[in-house]
Amino acid sequence: MQDSDPNAQFIDAFVVPTDTGSAVLIDTDFRRLDADAGPFQIALYSRLPLSMGELAVIRARVEADLFAHAVRTAAEGRRWVLALLTGVIELGVLGVLLAFLFLNREPVHAVVVWAAPLGFLPGLAYVWRTVAGRQAGARARSTLELGELLPNTAVGRDGDSLARLRDLWRIAEQPDEPRDLMRLERVARERVQWPAAARFYRELANAPSTTAPRGRLSWPRALARLRRERPHPLTHLTARSR
């Protein structure tokens, strides 16, 4: 393990406890990485000393996820102005159609009024995604053009990240408490306030998403929570033995 590169952008890798030992969690949103600012480097947060072979495997897995994500995202927002133009045309066609249907009310038109959004909304959603993802697409293209993951690994030194990891391990290692994935997820979400780790444990347990909030305005609250816990690529290596 070596010191960090001064220009490097860190990809944070955490060795977190699991029910069978420990695993590596990558908590970095690849959409925010900008290769123009410098090369990428893994910053490792671990309580356990890792061998060079383990670090090499983590590096290879992160490289795979990083560039696969860049390839998937690179086409996003590439011609967003043109996409916006088609969106305007699409809205125009939909508007003229709906106006026609309302002005010429016939029984058969009632079916068309309900069916029309099914045909037009996917196109509008596509335009919305293209315009919203233009920055992420530009960064992904920059990653493909200039991005390189450095072959050495830095020691993670961010205070908040260290504190979260320490708290997670401390709670996980309490001798009188069971160390199962559901408890670790709850601890990560409620006590350590680490949404990425909570999602990681949920994925590791292969469990369905947590229940939606109940009561009034439940769906906007569920949407807000989804946005807060916005999924970003997570790499994980499964268990090292305890």
């Binding site: 030992g21 072979g53 690179a74 066609v93």
Partner: protein, 233 residues
């Protein structure tokens, strides 16, 4: 350069070399990257063996990785073809329904025509859905190979050493490798524990390299006896 990993899994008579599961993804993404990064930086993941020689194993490692490159599938895409086909069929069906229900009026017919063909034609004409151009990638530079010791692999090798029967040792290795999360090693041990000779392993499982190929006699842990002979004379 691309950071690749290749496992050198210890067996009774040598090692089985196998590309890490990340290799296929990295190599599939390579054509979209700038050619300056097409070189391979290979980390040979091995148990902490004093005699293991990365330069001697390099050729087999490159072979194992090249097998993955040649057997690799399609590049990653953001949407599955099945889902895309389903969306297109839905658009066409709704468009045709609009045309049929238009009853001769041009407005619903126009909307139907837009759904059936107009939208996709405009997108392809403006090249909105065009993918990022990519060229076929092959490593232009000679690969850099380094040897990295893996603690889990070393532990498995030590525990297998105590078991005399080969099949039992490989079965134990498979169980331990699963526990360590080393799926590649576990698959190799499982194949060997069923009685397959290492030379007969299928290429997707790994490539066998015998001890005499991988061990460097000039890197023995103990000094050569020649020095003692010189002192006696």
């Amino acid at each position: 350069m691309m950071n690749l990993a290749c496992w050198a899994v210890p067996i009774r008579d040598g090692y089985v070399l196998r590309a890490d599961r990340s290799t296929a993804t990295i190599l599939r993404a390579a054509p979209a990257r700038s050619p300056q990064f097409w070189g391979w930086r290979i980390a040979l993941i091995q148990p902490q063996s004093q005699q293991f020689s990365a330069p001697l194993a390099a050729r087999a490692a490159v072979l194992a990785l090249d097998y993955v490159r040649l057997a690799g599938g399609a590049a990653p895409t953001d949407e599955s073809p099945r889902r895309r086909r389903a969306a297109i069929w839905m658009e066409v069906a709704l468009g045709l329904a609009l045309i049929v229900a238009s009853g001769g009026h041009w407005v619903p017919a126009l909307a139907g025509a837009w759904l059936v063909t107009g939208r996709r034609w405009v997108r392809s004409f403006l090249q909105i859905d065009a993918q990022v151009p990519s060229a076929p990638a092959a490593p232009a530079q000679s690969p850099l190979v380094s040897s990295e010791a893996h603690a889990g692999l070393a532990q498995i090798e030590r525990s297998m050493r105590d078991v005399e029967d080969d099949a039992a040792a490989y079965a134990l290795g498979a169980v331990q490798a699963r526990g360590e999360g080393l799926d590649e090693a576990a698959e190799i041990y499982e194949a060997l524990s069923s009685g397959t000779h290492p030379a007969m392993l299928p290429p997707h499982v790994g490539f066998w390299v015998a001890n005499e190929t991988m061990h460097d006699p000039w890197r023995l842990a103990l000094p050569a006896p020649a020095a003692a002979t010189d002192d006696a004379t």
